[in-house]
């Protein structure tokens, strides 16, 4: 393997590059901060003739996803990108894309939802889409945003899956920060993803199909069960492509990135860029002799329950860090999923849920130290397990 040239790029640039290399047939998109530079870069590739994509400019995200649904049902390879209010506006089409089993790949630059108006990074938007049937990736770095995006096309379009995939990165923190990255060769990516031929295409008149049909309860429910099974069943397929990609480019892929968990007394479960912040502190604590671990699901839907339980097993206390809340519920989304998985596996580990970094609020090292301090107290029974808003 030749030495790859490292260069500086933002997460958005890296996603645009991945999409350029895959060169989908159709992209329908509407700009929204902090995703705009993905489609802005992509529009340049189109204008420069670097891709053959039909770029459809639309008047809203609702239309963007509608156009993606139509193009994908017709048999095209389709990609788009959005964020925040844009993803929220797509909500009904998200269900349609998944229900019609359309392998659309969409990048989301995770951002807060109004009100108050805020353009910065959190997971409120994605968590609103977690029950739609889409597969959802969370990237920690710009490099991983690239890797996840390439893998997304393989997974979405695999005949064993046929589901839309959301490849997400944290707004501004990862979308706009410049990091050291490498790019795989265009031809390598193209051959890794391969050409796309839709198994069920509306434009294939030799094999006509109906799509988006009406269904009464019995058929509707069977269709929804098939969707659940497809989503659940995609986990080993995601791993298969992830490992294959890891082998091809030399960067690791795990459904759940478990750091220091083998002998950890205190474990933090966290998604996205903040996992790096937690690991940064965890390394310092390890150097001081504290047995701490960090669990980062790289895939959130389907939820890698077994892998997370395995990584948390044996801990004296765990903290789940959520960058979104589920207001009215006892726990925020990632904690609810994690605790349900632990309960189902018969693991009774004291756990505390923290909501952090809403609206891009800074996740300081002090915040992370507080979590690890709390975990020792939680194990000793001297701190309550009430949900905490961290850093305010």
């Amino acid at each position: 393997m030749t030495e790859k040239q490292a260069f500086s790029a933002t997460g958005n640039q890296m996603i645009a590059e991945a999409m350029r290399q895959v060169d989908p047939d159709v992209m329908a998109a509407y700009p929204i901060t902090p995703q705009t530079t993905i489609v802005e870069n992509y529009a340049k590739y189109v204008a420069n003739g670097q891709v053959h994509t039909e770029f459809v400019t639309v008047e809203s995200e609702h239309s963007a996803m509608s156009a993606c649904v139509g193009a994908s049902a017709a048999g095209a390879r389709v990609a788009t990108a959005t964020a925040s209010q844009g993803l929220a506006l797509m909500w009904e089409e998200l269900f349609i894309a998944a229900g019609m089993r359309l392998p659309i790949v969409m990048a989301n630059a995770n951002r807060a939802l109004s009100a108050p108006i805020n353009i910065h990074g959190d997971h409120s938007d994605v968590m609103g889409a977690r029950d739609t049937g889409w597969i959802i990736f969370f990237a920690e770095t710009a490099q991983e945003a690239y890797d996840n995006t390439v893998i997304s096309f393989c997974v979405a379009e695999d005949e064993r899956v046929l589901l839309p995939v959301m490849t997400t990165l944290d707004g501004f923190i990862t979308s706009h920060a410049m990091e050291r990255c490498v790019l795989e060769d265009d031809e390598m990516v193209k051959s890794f993803v391969g050409p796309y031929e839709a198994k069920y295409a509306l434009l294939n008149t030799d094999d006509p199909i109906g799509a988006g049909m009406f269904a009464m309860g019995d058929c509707y429910m069977k269709s929804r069960l098939a969707l659940r099974n497809a989503n659940d069943g995609s986990l080993p397929i995601i791993e298969e492509y992830g490992k294959k990609w890891a082998e091809a480019c030399g960067r690791p892929f795990d459904l759940v990135d478990a750091w220091g968990t083998e002998d950890a007394d205190y474990v933090v479960v966290v998604l996205g860029s903040a996992a790096g912040n937690v690991r940064h502190i965890a390394r310092e604590l390890r150097a001081e002799g504290k047995k701490v671990g960090v669990v980062r699901p790289r895939v959130y839907r389907p939820f890698p329950a077994e892998q997370i339980v395995e990584a948390c097993k044996g801990a004296k206390a765990i903290a789940v860090l959520d960058r979104a809340d589920s207001i009215g519920a006892k726990h925020a989304p990632l904690a609810a999923d994690t605790l349900a998985a632990l309960y189902a596996a018969g693991e009774q580990i004291p756990a505390k849920n923290y909501v952090y970094g809403l609206g891009g609020n800074d996740v300081t090292n002090d915040c992370i130290h507080r979590v690890f301090d709390d975990l020792e107290k939680l194990a000793a029974g001297t701190v309550s397990d009430e949900l905490v808003y961290l850093g305010i």
Binding site: S8, H176, A177, E179
Partner: protein, 191 residues
């Protein structure tokens, strides 16, 4: 654990702080370093105070928050000293580099930092007006940074500028920028 260098930039929107933050990162990357460069996005208007950040490390950088304990603080506009606590959280052996017409002693008195913190001054705006013919002090201040700290060698900075500007600007403008780097490198004074 390898040393992580954290630089916090204070400027007013329009002075090119974000470009400077990226220039330093890109220059360090040429030597194989891991880097991060990011602005702090707020409701920006030209002239409004802003912060930007650069991280440089020989190992992959995992942390993704803002820089609260910088090893180096660069201030592109000395009028910010009246409204922003630019040295907040600076490391005990940190360095402050200030674009100002003040003497190093005056700047040290104004900043009121401990003796262990190095204070460096350079009239980057004056140099920019002389060379680039516009008050954009970002390029010269990187020359000063190069002299006062070991983050990036000055030759590498100029090489990087040639690469970055080569695509966009006429040779005259590139030379003016390179000249501004050299002058700030020579003229920066520490106290």
């Amino acid at each position: 654990m390898s040393q992580l260098i954290e630089i916090r930039w204070h400027a007013r929107a329009g002075q090119g702080a974000v470009t400077a933050a990226k220039l330093v990162a890109d220059t360090a990357l040429m030597d194989g370093a891991y880097i991060q460069a990011m602005p702090e996005y707020g409701p920006e208007r030209t002239g409004a105070p802003l912060k930007a950040y650069t991280r440089v490390c020989s190992e992959p950088i995992e942390v993704h928050n803002t820089i609260t304990n910088p090893s180096i603080v660069v201030v592109l506009d000395d009028t910010l000293l009246d409204t922003v606590n630019v040295t907040e959280g600076i490391e005990d052996d940190g360095v402050v580099i200030l674009n100002t017409e003040m003497s190093a002693e005056e700047a040290r008195a104004k900043l009121a930092v401990p003796a262990s913190v190095t204070v460096a001054v350079v009239d980057a705006s004056g140099i920019a007006l002389d060379t680039i013919k516009r008050d954009i002090p970002n390029t010269p201040i990187v020359g000063a940074l190069s002299k006062v700290t070991a983050v990036v060698p000055v030759d590498q900075v100029k090489e990087r500028l040639r690469i970055t500007f080569g695509k966009k600007f006429a040779q005259e403008m590139i030379d003016a920028n390179l000249d501004s780097v050299d002058r700030a490198y020579e003229e920066v004074v520490c106290a």
